[in-house]
C-alpha cells in the first residue's frame, strides 16, 4: 500500500488522534493511579491528606509476618495454579482432539466454569468442601479416606482454594492447548503414526510442538494467579488466621482498616513482583518460541 499512496496520504488516513480518546481514559483511570501508588506508599495517607514518612510503610510491610506470608502465598498460589493447569489441560486437550465421541460436549462442559462468577464458584465449593457434611468428604469417605478440613486447616486452605481456581480456569488452558495441537501440521503425526504408540505421539510430537501454547498457558495463569482476589476472599477471606492471605487480600484488608498508605505499598510490592517475574519470563518464552 505504501508503494501506491504517498506517505502523506497514509498519515492523513490513519491519524494519531484516534489514540486520544482511549489514551485519556487509560491515563486517568490506570496510569495516574499506578504512578500515584508509588508516591502514596511513602506516606501516611487518609485519602484527604498525606504525610510523607519515607519507607516506613515498606519497613512495616516486610516486618509484619502477616504481610510477608501474603507475599509468599501469592507466589506459591501463582506457581501452583499455573503448573496444575498445564499438567491437567494438556492431556485433556489431547483427549479432546483424539477420535473420542462427544468431543464438543466435553469441551463445552469443561469450559463453562470459566464464565461462571467467581463468587458463585467460591460459595459452591465452600459448601462442597464443608468438613463434616460436605459432598467431597462424603464421597472420599466411601473409599475410607478420613475427613479433610479443606478450608479450616491452615496448612491446607491455600491449596484448597488453588484447586478450586484450577477447576474454574482449566477450561481456558484447555482451549489454548486444543488450538495449539490443531495448528500442528498433520505430516508430523503421520511420521509418528508409523511408530504407532500414543506415548510416542505425545512425547515427540505434541509436547515439543505445542510449546508455544504451553508458554501462553503458563504466562496467562501465572499473571492471573499473582493478581487473584475474588476466590480467596469469597472462600477464606485470607484465613484461617492469615494462612491463605495473598497480596491482594492484604491490600484490601489494609484499605478496610484505613491504612491507605500501607495498602498502596502493598500495591507497589505486587506491581514490582509481577514486573520482575512476568517480563523476564515473557522474554525467555519469546526467545525459545518455535515456528511451525
Amino acid at each position: 500500500m505504501e508503494a501506491t499512496l504517498r506517505p502523506k496520504t497514509v498519515l492523513r488516513t490513519y491519524p494519531h488522534w484516534f489514540y486520544i480518546p482511549a489514551g485519556i481514559v487509560f491515563a486517568i483511570f490506570f496510569v495516574v493511579p499506578t504512578v500515584l501508588a508509588f508516591y502514596f506508599s511513602l506516606t501516611r495517607w487518609t485519602l484527604f491528606d498525606a504525610t510523607f514518612i519515607g519507607l516506613d510503610n515498606y519497613e512495616r510491610f516486610f516486618n509484619d509476618p502477616q504481610l510477608t506470608a501474603g507475599l509468599r502465598n501469592t507466589f506459591i498460589y501463582a506457581v501452583l495454579t499455573s503448573g496444575l493447569k498445564v499438567v491437567i489441560a494438556l492431556p485433556l486437550a489431547m483427549l479432546l482432539t483424539s477420535s473420542i465421541r462427544l468431543k464438543g460436549l466435553f469441551r463445552g462442559i469443561i469450559f463453562f466454569p470459566v464464565l461462571v462468577s467467581t463468587v458463585a464458584v467460591g460459595i459452591t465449593f465452600g459448601a462442597l468442601m464443608q468438613p463434616s457434611i460436605g459432598l467431597i468428604n462424603t464421597a472420599l469417605g466411601v473409599f475410607g479416606i478420613p475427613r479433610i478440613d479443606w478450608l479450616g486447616d491452615p496448612d491446607l486452605a491455600l491449596f484448597s482454594v488453588a484447586l478450586v481456581d484450577v477447576w474454574k480456569g482449566v477450561g481456558i488452558a484447555m482451549v489454548i492447548f486444543i488450538a495449539g495441537i490443531l495448528s500442528i501440521p498433520l505430516d508430523y503425526f503421520d511420521a509418528a503414526r508409523l511408530e504407532g504408540e500414543t506415548w510416542i505421539k505425545f512425547r515427540y510430537v505434541i509436547l515439543p510442538l505445542s510449546r508455544n501454547a504451553t508458554f501462553t498457558v503458563i504466562l496467562l495463569s501465572f499473571i492471573s494467579g499473582l493478581r487473584t482476589f475474588d476466590l480467596i476472599w469469597t472462600m477464606t477471606r485470607g484465613g484461617p488466621g492469615f494462612a491463605s492471605d495473598v497480596l491482594t487480600s492484604v491490600i484490601y484488608k489494609q484499605y478496610q482498616a484505613g491504612f491507605y498508605g500501607l495498602s498502596a505499598a502493598g500495591n507497589v510490592v505486587l506491581f514490582v513482583l509481577v514486573t520482575i517475574l512476568v517480563y523476564p519470563l515473557m522474554r525467555f518464552f519469546q526467545r525459545v518460541e518455535i515456528e511451525l
Binding site: 480518546p21 483511570f29 490506570f30 501508588a37 460459595i123 459452591t124 462442597l128 508455544n212 476472599w233
Partner: protein
C-alpha cells in the same frame, strides 16, 4: 468393526464421561438441587432430589428480599456492562485500526502500553483517590470508566489481530473514493470488524458482569449494588438459608449461561486471541 474393537474404543469414552461428569457437572447439579430444596434440607448439603421441589418459591423469596434489592443490582450490573462494553468497542477499535496500519515508533509505544495494561495489576486505592478528585467515586460512571480502562488492552489486542486480516487495498479504495478517516473507520472498517466485535462484546461483558473486586472498591453502599456484591453480601445475610443463597447463584448464572449457549465459539476465539500465533 467387530464387537471387541467397539468395546475397546468405547471404554475410554465411558471413563472420560464418568470422570468429567463427576468433576464438572456434579457441582452444577448440586447448585440446582440445593436451590430447589426447603431450608433445613438444603443445609444438609446432600446430593439428593428435594423432598419438595420449590425452586421458584426460593427464587421469589430471594427477589423479594430487601425490597427487591436484586432488581436494583441487576439494573446496575446491566447498565455498567452495556455502557462499558460500548465504550470499549468504540475506543479500542479506533486504536487498533491506526495501530495495525501504521508501523511507526508511536505504534510500538502504544503496543507496549497495551501489553503493560494486560499484565500490571491496577492500583486500587489510588484509583479511589482519583475518582474522588473528579467526583466519580461511588458513581456508576466512575465504575464504567474504570472497567473501560482495565478491559481496553484486551480489546485492542483482539481487534489488532483481526485488523491484520483486512487487506490494505480496501483502505486504498476508500481513500481514492475520497473518504475521510472518520468515514473510512465507521463505514468501512467497523463493519468489517464485526466478528471481532462480537468476540469482544461477549468476552468483556461476561468479565465485567462477573467482576466483584471493582464494585467492592469503587461502588460501596447500598445505592449502587451490583449482582456480584449482592451475592457476596448474602453469604452473611442468608446464614443457614443455603437454599436462598444457591437460588441467587442460579439467578445470576443465567446471563452467562445464555451467552455461553449462543456464543461459545466467539468466546473461545476471544480467550485464545493473541495466544496462538498462527
Amino acid at each position: 468393526m467387530n464387537i471387541r474393537k467397539l468395546i475397546a474404543s468405547l471404554w475410554i469414552d465411558v471413563v472420560s464421561l464418568i470422570v468429567i461428569s463427576i468433576v464438572f457437572v456434579v457441582p452444577f447439579i448440586f447448585i440446582f438441587l440445593t436451590a430447589a430444596k426447603p431450608r433445613t434440607e438444603a443445609a444438609m448439603f446432600e446430593f439428593t432430589w428435594p423432598s419438595q421441589f420449590q425452586l421458584l418459591e426460593n427464587i421469589k423469596e430471594v427477589v423479594e428480599f430487601g425490597d427487591g434489592r436484586i432488581f436494583l443490582a441487576f439494573a446496575n450490573s446491566i447498565f455498567i456492562t452495556v455502557a462499558s462494553v460500548t465504550l470499549i468497542v468504540l475506543l479500542a477499535a479506533l486504536v487498533a485500526f491506526v495501530l495495525q496500519r501504521r508501523r511507526d515508533r508511536v505504534a510500538s509505544a502504544v503496543s507496549s502500553i497495551m501489553l503493560a495494561g494486560l499484565i500490571i495489576p491496577p492500583a486500587v486505592v489510588p484509583t479511589i483517590f482519583v475518582l474522588q478528585e473528579i467526583g466519580l467515586y461511588r458513581t456508576l460512571w466512575g465504575m464504567i470508566m474504570v472497567q473501560v480502562a482495565y478491559t481496553m488492552p484486551f480489546a485492542i489486542l483482539v481487534f489488532r489481530t483481526f485488523m491484520a486480516s483486512i487487506p490494505g487495498e480496501i483502505d486504498e479504495a476508500a481513500i481514492i473514493d475520497g473518504a475521510s478517516p472518520m468515514q473510512m473507520f465507521f463505514y468501512v472498517i467497523l463493519p468489517l470488524l464485526r466478528p471481532a466485535i462480537i468476540t469482544v462484546i461477549v468476552v468483556s461483558s461476561v468479565g465485567i458482569y462477573n467482576d466483584f473486586t471493582g464494585p467492592l472498591y469503587f461502588l460501596p453502599g447500598s445505592q449502587n449494588v451490583t449482582v456480584q456484591v449482592t451475592l457476596f453480601s448474602y453469604i452473611s445475610q442468608f446464614t443457614s438459608q443455603w437454599n436462598l443463597l444457591f437460588a441467587n447463584v442460579v439467578l445470576i448464572t443465567i446471563p452467562p449461561l445464555i451467552m455461553f449457549m449462543f456464543f461459545q465459539r466467539q468466546i473461545v476465539a476471544g480467550m485464545t486471541a493473541g495466544a496462538i500465533k498462527g
